[in-house]
């Protein structure tokens, strides 16, 4: 057990701090430098796309999880934008690096990293949520084009994206998991209709996307025909952990403490209410546990160990915990916690507590419901048997 960093890493941290010090005025802000310029600067200095090979537009450093963590920590602490995110960078790029063709890597990764090519993910469908392999959007090879028809849902940023990476059933006669291909196409292709999917937060984070005879050049496929499920699963694993970052929870806890010191009922501060205080401390203990668990995962990753159960439980515990934390904030505010919508008088923290309370209920469901997570934990984590096959299936 050693929570200190090596001299190399400490000196790296100093580099990061000095970069932040001298460049923070170039970070994007409304009316100021653009996000794309900032991203270029970050890549050039190895603070974005750090371990992606230079020939594909990255910085080309050898992977070092601790350095990545140090960058993330210090940018967060300095409240400076860590550069572009999004599903193209976080999900498509690692996939292409693993299974893309050389041509795909060269033409796509660079522009994606630089934010010149914004991606959306076409996976879920109305009939294919928990049972994603049940997807029905079909692609038929007609001449040298895939002709895609069907519907996707939960397509975040579809309305902002240039391109889509999309799961499509191309082999209707193959078994469910073996009939899917992973296609790439421009969102400007004729036949694509995007409808905003308004959610309970009143926000527009997601879309429904409809495909009618969308023509995709035959070569715009990642992996082979029918390999789409395998390709997609490699990335899904990337997604699940990121929904419940304990450091974000710690900063929410900090904000909650401040709020509890200012909210009053009949002049009495919420922090002086033993019941609210106890609920707060209870949540803090859980957040502490998740933060320690996260250190353990980091350490396992550094040492190339399998995280096992400690990794499998993060999504379930983290999203529930975050929901609980935001719930407490609303209870602390009482009626004030009901206020919502820009410009509403008395609104606290721009409604972020309510927004997060609802959004995290969405995250409890999204990316594998809690029920699916429990199946995974019991089967992969505890070695319990899968449910027996049904008589009629």
């Amino acid at each position: 057990m050693d929570l200190s960093f090596s001299a190399e890493h400490e000196s790296f941290r100093c580099e990061v701090l000095s970069f932040l010090e001298s460049h923070r005025d170039q970070a994007p802000r409304p009316g100021g430098p653009s996000a794309l310029m900032w991203q270029k600067l970050l890549i050039a200095n190895g603070y974005a796309a750090r371990s992606i090979p230079t020939e594909y537009g990255g910085y080309g450093a050898s992977p070092d999880i601790l350095k990545s963590r140090i960058i993330a920590e210090e940018f967060a602490r300095a409240q400076v934008s860590p550069g572009l995110g999004g599903q193209g960078i976080s999900m498509l790029v690692p996939t292409l690096l693993e299974v893309g063709s050389e041509e795909q890597k060269r033409s796509i990764i660079g522009p994606t990293l630089r934010g010149e090519m914004v991606w959306c993910q076409g996976y879920s469908e109305p009939g294919a949520g928990s049972d994603l392999a049940n997807l029905r959007t079909k692609g038929e090879l007609v001449g040298d084009h895939w002709v895609v028809n069907g519907q996707k849902i939960w397509t975040s940023t579809a309305h902002l994206a240039d391109w889509c990476f999309c799961l499509v059933r191309t082999e209707p006669d193959a078994p469910k998991h073996q009939g899917i291909s992973f296609l790439l196409f421009s969102m400007k292709t004729p036949g694509i209709e995007i409808r905003p999917l308004i959610d309970m937060t009143e926000g527009h984070s997601f879309n429904e996307v409809f495909f009618t005879d969308v023509q995709v050049p035959a070569g715009q496929i990642v992996g082979k025909r029918g390999d789409g499920w395998k390709v997609a699963n490699a990335i899904l694993r990337h997604e699940r952990g990121s929904l419940a970052d304990p450091n974000t929870m710690l900063s929410r806890l900090g904000a909650l403490t401040e709020m509890m010191k200012t909210e009053t009922v009949d002049g009495r501060r919420a922090i002086d209410d033993p019941l609210f205080r106890d609920r707060f401390m209870r949540i803090e203990a859980k957040v502490m546990a998740m933060r320690c668990n996260d250190l353990r995962l980091l350490s396992a990753a550094v040492n190339g160990h399998s995280p096992g159960l400690a990794g499998l439980v993060v999504k379930l515990q983290g999203t529930e915990l975050r929901h609980e934390l935001e719930r407490l904030a609303i209870d602390v505010m009482g009626e004030m916690g009901l206020l919502y919508g820009d410009g509403t008088p008395y609104l606290r923290d721009r409604g972020s507590w309510q927004w997060n309370y609802m959004f995290f209920l969405g995250l409890i469901i999204g990316g594998g419901t809690s029920q699916i997570q429990k199946n995974i934990i019991s089967e992969r984590g505890l070695g319990m048997p899968r449910e027996p096959k049904l008589a009629t299936a």
Binding site: M200, E263, D266, L338
Partner: protein, 361 residues
């Protein structure tokens, strides 16, 4: 000995539910929200026709003269249908205030108008339970000064105001010196807002024992809110069960998965005893004075806890669809969320009950 609903009571609920169904239900609530309507006059009119606006108002003032239990049953149906119409303030608390603390003249003037739905009354009661941001109203030289927040049935013609000393007042919505500011909340079916008083003429409601009348308002308000949550939570559970039977994943209805079945069973097991609790609390308001306040607290607090849990679980049963606006499930989620905080969150209300029992200072 008969602990249950009479045929008349069941019919009242059914006929109201039928009318709300005809008036559009969720679609009506969506329109109310989208158009930022102040009042859904068609819904109010329909409720008036059914006698709901005058439900607890005596017959000689143009009402139906029913009990507070009947009012709770109405409140349940309104919660179940996320109805965008005034009721708790205008048809329960304001009439109660007039009946408990108004004089004959005030009663004769206002009760018939409330009964007919011609007048809507809001009730400013939040500060009597707990004042936030220093809100509260004081009387100086017979005029009101200060602020009331989270007025129940805010889009009104007339207000019942509770001041800091617990005295009740009647104020017309168009009184000089009165500023009304809507407060937008998560629940778009029930407008609430702030009243600012800058030397507003008020008519005192002081013909009875005001302290008793105020307590009766708080108790009744809590039971009505509990009943609203009961209806809303039951509607969410029903929708979850229906959805689970229809929705297929892995080639079978998700209702056949034990995890989903047990989520629904837990909701039902938590909720079903709440129904009897709300009945009892409603009955106690009129008939069991020694128990009324404590039972009202228990109903409010317990339904808030159970409702919050069901709002979450029923949404989860719906999967991603529950999170979208497409099925509109969030209207119920937010109604329950609103009810949790109004007239005292669960902890506050439990502490009130402990005080009533002499267990807390």
């Amino acid at each position: 000995m008969e602990f249950g609903l009479s045929q008349e009571q069941t019919m009242l609920q059914e006929s109201l539910a039928r009318f709300l169904g005809e008036s559009g239900n969720l679609a009506r609530s969506r329109r109310f929200a989208a158009d930022k309507e102040a009042r859904a006059q068609d819904v109010i009119d329909g409720m008036a026709e059914l006698g709901v606006t005058g439900l607890i108002i005596p017959e000689d003032h143009g009402g139906v003269g029913l009990s507070l239990l009947d009012a709770a049953l109405v409140s349940e149906v309104l919660g179940a249908n996320v109805t965008p119409a005034p009721f708790i303030g205008s048809s329960v608390l304001a009439p109660l205030a007039l009946m408990g603390a108004g004089d004959a003249g005030q009663q004769g003037l206002w009760l018939p108008k409330l009964a007919s739905g011609a007048v809507v009354a809001g009730v400013a009661l939040s500060e009597a339970v707990g004042a936030r941001d220093g809100a509260g109203v004081e009387i100086r030289d017979g005029k009101l000064y200060g602020r009331s927040l989270f007025v129940v049935d805010f889009e009104a013609d007339l207000y019942v105001i509770v001041d800091r000393s617990g005295e009740l007042h009647l104020v017309a919505a168009d009184s000089p010196g009165l500023t009304r500011t809507p407060l937008r909340t998560i629940d778009l079916t029930r407008p609430t807002g702030e009243l600012r008083f800058d030397g507003v003429e008020a008519e005192p409601l002081n013909s009875g024992d005001t302290a008793v009348a105020l307590r009766a308002l708080i108790d009744a308000g809590r039971v009505m809110i509990a009943a609203d949550t009961l209806g809303a939570a039951q509607a969410m559970l029903d929708q979850a069960v229906t959805y689970a039977k229809e929705r297929k994943q892995f080639d079978r209805p998700i209702a056949t998965f034990q995890a989903v079945k047990h989520m629904c069973a837990e909701m039902a097991a938590d909720l079903e005893p709440c129904r009897a609790l709300v009945w009892y609390a409603g009955h106690a308001l009129d008939h069991l004075p020694a128990e009324a306040s404590i039972t009202a607290c228990h109903a409010k607090a317990h339904l808030s806890e159970v409702g919050t849990q069901i709002a979450k679980t029923a949404t989860e049963v719906h999967g991603g669809m529950g999170f979208t606006d497409l099925v509109g499930l969030h209207y119920w989620f937010k109604r329950i969320g609103f009810n949790r905080q109004i007239l005292g969150g669960p902890q506050t209300v439990r502490e009130d009950a402990a005080r009533l029992k002499g267990l807390a200072a």
